[in-house]
Every structure is written in C-alpha cells, then in structure tokens.
Amino acid sequence: MSTLEIKGLHVEIEGKEILKGVDLTINTNEIHAVMGPNGTGKSTLASAIMGHPKYVVTAGTVTLDGEDVLEMEVDERAKAGLFLAMQYPSEISGVTNADFLRSAINSKREEGEEISLMKFIRELDSKMETLEMNQEMAQRYLNEGFSGGEKKRNEILQLMMLKPKFAILDEIDSGLDIDALKVVSKGVNEMRGENFGCLIITHYQRLLNYITPDKVHVMMQGRVVKSGGPELAQKLEAQGYDWIKEELGIEDETVGQEA
C-alpha cells in the first residue's frame, strides 16, 4: 500500500495565499473526492501537489510513502507515481500524441527497457477503444485543436497508459456531456484497484454517480472544512453548501475571507 499525505499545506500564487493549511491523507485502493464551490482552493491543491511553476508552497508538507514530494522536480514527482489530469492541458504543436505518450512511458523505464513499439500500439489501441476515441487522435498533435471533451479523454488516456500510483483529476467533468462523462468514468473505474489511489476534484456531484468515492471532503477558504463518506456528496447534491457554512459560521466560503 502507498500513501500520499498532505499536512498543513499553505500555498501562494503571485503573493496571494490560497491554501491555508490543508490536511489530507490518501491511500492506494481509495478514491477521494474534494468538493466545494468555486474559488475555494481545490484546483490550487491539485497544481501545488504536481508542482505547477506559478504556485509557491510556503508551509506544510506533501509526502509519498514518506518521500518529500515538494523537494522533487515535476518530472520526478511523475516518476514517483503522481499524475494530474489537468483542467487546461497545454497544446504542443508538432508533437504527436503517440510520440509524446511513448516518451512519457519510456521516461519511467531504464535505458534498454523501453516499451516495444508493438506492445505500445496494442495498449494504446485498447485504451483508446475503452475511451471511445477515434484512432486518428494518436497521430494528431498533442491537444492541438482538440475540443474540450477530446482533451479530457486524452488526459484519461494518459492516465491509463502511464498507470500512476496516485491520480488527481482536476475538474475532469467540467464541460462534458453525460455520454462523455460515462466514458471518462469507465476509464477511471478500470484503474481502480490495490495499486491505485485517486483524488477527484469537482464541484458537481454528478461525476460521483459514476465513480463512487470512498471519502468526500469539502473545501472552503483554502482548507478542508468537512470530511465524510459518499453520503456527504449526496447531501451536498440535495441541500447545497449553505448548511455547512451555517454550521461553521462561514459567510463567504471563497479564499481571502476569514471565518
């Protein structure tokens, strides 16, 4: 079993503090959902864990099986087993999706142990089929001219090909219609198992109808303010966030306001 542990995490962007002490522990074989209204720091949490260049960690720790993640370069974090399905993936002109994926897979392998072309193609074909992606997407330039939905599927394709220990899905459901949502969920569910843990960031409950979380956390004002089981997501769906704000005496849940 592997463990991703976030303790007292404080993060700034351009001098403004967004995260104000996040604590969260995820084990493999668990799926956690982080929910909360817009502007409460959810995506910042995802980006800070992966090492986005604009986010500065000012206090706290992130460890993966005891290893200090924050000390690692971004590529080392990936090699250690982290993956972030991004909300706004970059477009890289002139680099085909397939070439990129092969480079990424091989970067985790020793020299001489590279994945064979045949095996790669077989695996790529089968994952693309699961995600109902057109085969020609493999030869298109990475994310260039992809629709919103195609980009999301492509993020999940990378997840399935790279098989990380922990995946963070940053609003993978935004902009997806119900059919695409089902397909993306199918991909994530296929990853579920003893060697995989997942943190799903969303502000809608609907994705959680297809991927049942083990734990649900609510973020407000840059902290996790409430945690529970899947029933918490149901309650949020039915009643919204106001009851939590009342319970905790929060007037404005967004970052920058104090309780």
Binding site: V74, A78, I92, S93, G94, V95
Partner: protein, 435 residues
C-alpha cells in the same frame, strides 16, 4: 582537387571561364554585362541587418575541379544517408563546382523531362535556358549580389518538365561542399510547363568543417498555368562561408508553388524566398525553419507578391535561436492593385533558447487593393513554462521536454519533406544544433 582560377576575378577571367565551359554567346555576354554591373551596383539592404562589412566579393578560388563519381555508393556516409540509393531514380550530385553524378529514368527522358547540370543545359538546351535564366524570377541588375552571381556562376542544375507531364517520384539534387577554399555560385532553374507537376528536393551539405569561401545561390522556379512544384531544401553549410541564398518562384494561372526550406547553415546568411503569384488563382506556400547558434548572423525574408486575382499566399517561418546567434525574420505579404480576392496570411515565430540570442519577427502587409483578406501572427519568446510543466508532469525530463517542444516547433518543414533520408537528416541536424 586542382585549382583552376585564382583570387579576384577580372572581366577576362570571367570570359575565359565561360569559354572553358563552351557556353553559348548569349550567356557569355550576360556574364560580361553582369560583371560590369557588379562593379557599380550596391549590396541589397535586408531590413535591420547591416551587411556593408560582410565579405561578398573576395574568395580564394573561383572553380575547383573534382573527380566525378562512378556510383552513389562512393559518396561519404553523411551524403549517402540522404539518398535511397536503390530506389532513387532521378538524381544529380555536384561536388564543389564539378557535376559529379547524374541519373534520370528512361521513362522521364521519353516524356521529355530534362535533368542536367547547368553547363550542359547551356550547351544542349541553350534556347530553353536563355528563356528562363535571370529573366522572369530574378534580374541581373537587382543589386551587386545578383550581378556577381551571374558573372561568377560556377555550378547548378536545370530541371524541365514538359506540358502535362506529372513527375511522380521526387527529383533529388545534392550539392556537396568539400574543402576550405571552395565557393558556390550555383544556379538552379526549375521549370514546370502547363499542367505538369514536379517535386524537387535539394540538399546543400558541407563535408568540411570550415570555409573561407562565398555562397551566392539563386534558384528560379517557374510554374506555368495549372502546374504544381513542390520544392524542398535543406541547407547545412559550414561556418566561415558568407552566404546569400535567393530562392524565387513565379506561379502562373492556377499554379501552385510549395516551399519547405530547412535553414540549418552554420554561417552568416542572407535568405530570400519570394513567390510571385502572377496568375489568377495561383497559390504559394512558403514554409521555412531555421536554427541559429554560435555568433551566427542571419536575415530571412519570405515574401508573397499577389498580382493575379484570387491568389493565395501563405508564409510560415519558425526560428530557434541559441547562444549569441541573431536572426531577423521578415514576412511580407504584398497585394498589388487588381489582385482582388487575394488572401495573404503569414505566421512568424521565434523561440529563444538563450538570454544572449536575438530574434526579431517583422510581419509586413503591403496592400494596394480593397477586396482582399490578409492576416499575420508573430511572436518571439522563450519555451512556454506551462508546456514544459505539462510534459514534465508526465515524467519527461526538462531536457527531453525542451527537445520535444523544439522539434515540434520545427516540424512544419520536417513533415513536408518528401524524401525519407532528407527528412531524417533534417531532424538529426536540428537535434545536433539545439543540443
């Protein structure tokens, strides 16, 4: 290699060189007229690059004599890698200033296709050559360099495709530079008559590491009505040369000229690639990529000139600059009065890999007609940190991520080259230059 002519040519030298090649009278006269013009004409004035102190006139040797090849297998490995020796049916190889090897399929010969070195063309196809040599595309008296080129021309190739003939397999041309004293005043003439088509791919390859010579190259590319010419080029010329490379096209009615040019020289170079869209409905695509390194200085002008109605001109220039290299990229879309419904689009992008490098992108639209569309995009910047982050977040190291981004940035030309060996070579040269 034996030396034929010494330094600083005189008018007499030019005449005797012409005679030794048994050139027709019109060419000898044109050279002599050009020689006189060269004495008085000024250097061209490429935008934002001062070339007054560049040496375009002095060189150690005008023409060398080298051994021809008995077969392509004799070529050094680096040159051989460019050619699919078994399957390449149509090829011309020039070593320094000597026509060294020529092969043209019987099928194309029967159809009237001509592929030959420029001197043989002058002797055997004199009228045809006269019609196109320094007439429609480039003029002798444009400036000092066009005049010098004409006077000193010491190599080149002539390709002619008759009406309606479609040349399906690419014609490959290799200009090899071996030896420090060599200068290249090569002239290429590519003519595709009405409704014919041709793919032409040329390589300039230095096998010597250094040079004391000059490069003054002109290509004239003529696509008649309904013809299509695809012109691929990869230039890998050594440090030490001073280079002027002018590739110019003239497209007739509904004709298309597509350029894909890999500018990989290690020497200071003035580049010009102009397409005159003369006929209605003509199309010009100019794609070029450049890598500058060391203290190299370059100036690149890509231009489409719209004369015909509904003429479409597209320019793409991508440059990668490292070390202390400097390059000015000029993209010019010129629409003449009367060229209604023309479309001029251009994109110039420069990627800076070092603090001390310099890259300028100057998009220019000159429009003398109301009913047209035009657009431009230009950018100069460093590798996007978010692109790097994205690739690295998948486990790719910073170095490899940068490499992928640079190769991707230069892919528009690499992917267009129709000969596998040349495509691979360009990728490898890029790899070597940006490392």
């Amino acid at each position: 290699m034996t030396v034929e002519t010494k330094l600083a040519l005189t008018g007499e030298d030019v005449r005797s060189y012409s005679e030794s090649n048994r050139e027709p009278e019109w060419l000898a006269a044109k050279r002599s007229e050009a020689y006189q013009l060269a004495e008085t004409l000024q250097l061209p004035k490429p935008d934002k690059t001062k070339i007054q102190n560049w040496n375009f006139t002095e060189f150690p040797v005008h023409a060398t004599k080298d051994e021809p090849l008995t077969g392509l297998a004799e070529l050094p490995q680096e040159a051989r890698a460019l050619i699919d020796i078994e399957n390449q049916k149509n090829i011309y190889v020039q070593r320094n200033n000597t026509p060294a090897y020529l092969k043209l399929s019987d099928e194309l010969k029967e159809q009237g296709v001509i592929l030959t070195d420029i001197f043989t063309a002058a002797r055997e196809h004199s009228d045809l050559l006269q019609k196109y040599f320094m007439n429609d595309a480039v003029k002798v008296d444009e400036h000092k360099l066009t005049a010098l080129h004409t006077a000193f021309m010491n190599g080149g190739v002539f390709v002619y495709v008759p009406k309606g003939v479609e040349v399906k397999e690419p014609v490959q041309v290799l200009f090899l530079h071996e030896g420090e004293d060599v200068s290249l005043f090569n002239h290429a003439i590519i003519v595709a008559e009405d409704n014919s088509s041709l793919t032409y791919v040329e390589n300039y390859l230095s096998l010597s590491k250094d040079s004391k010579g000059l490069v003054n190259i002109i290509s004239e590319v003529i696509a008649k009505d309904g013809a299509k010419i695809t012109y691929g080029a990869v230039d890998v010329l050594a440090e030490g040369f001073t280079s002027y490379i002018n590739r110019r096209g003239v497209a007739g009615r509904d004709a298309t000229i597509e350029w894909a040019i890999g500018m990989m020289n290690d020497c200071d170079t003035i580049y010009e690639n102009v397409t005159h869209l003369v006929g209605d409905g003509s199309v010009g695509h100019s794609k070029s990529v450049l890598v500058g390194r060391g203290d190299q200085k370059q100036n690149v002008t890509a231009k489409t000139v719209h004369w015909g109605k509904e003429a479409e001109g597209y320019i793409l220039q991508h440059g990668v600059m490292k070390d202390e290299a400097s390059t000015i990229f000029n993209g010019i879309g010129k629409i003449e009065h009367g060229a209604s419904k023309s479309d001029a689009v251009q994109e110039s992008r420069v990627l800076m890999l070092s603090e001390k490098a310099r890259g300028d992108a100057n998009p220019i639209l000159l429009i003398d007609e109301d009913d047209v569309t035009a657009g431009h995009a230009a950018s100069v910047g460093r590798v996007d940190p978010l692109q790097l982050y994205y690739l690295m977040s998948r486990g790719i190291s910073r170095v490899d991520a940068e490499r992928l981004i640079v190769h991707g940035f230069l892919a528009p030309v690499v992917s267009q080259l129709p000969i596998e060996g040349v495509k691979k070579q360009l990728s490898e040269v890029i790899e070597r230059k940006v490392r």
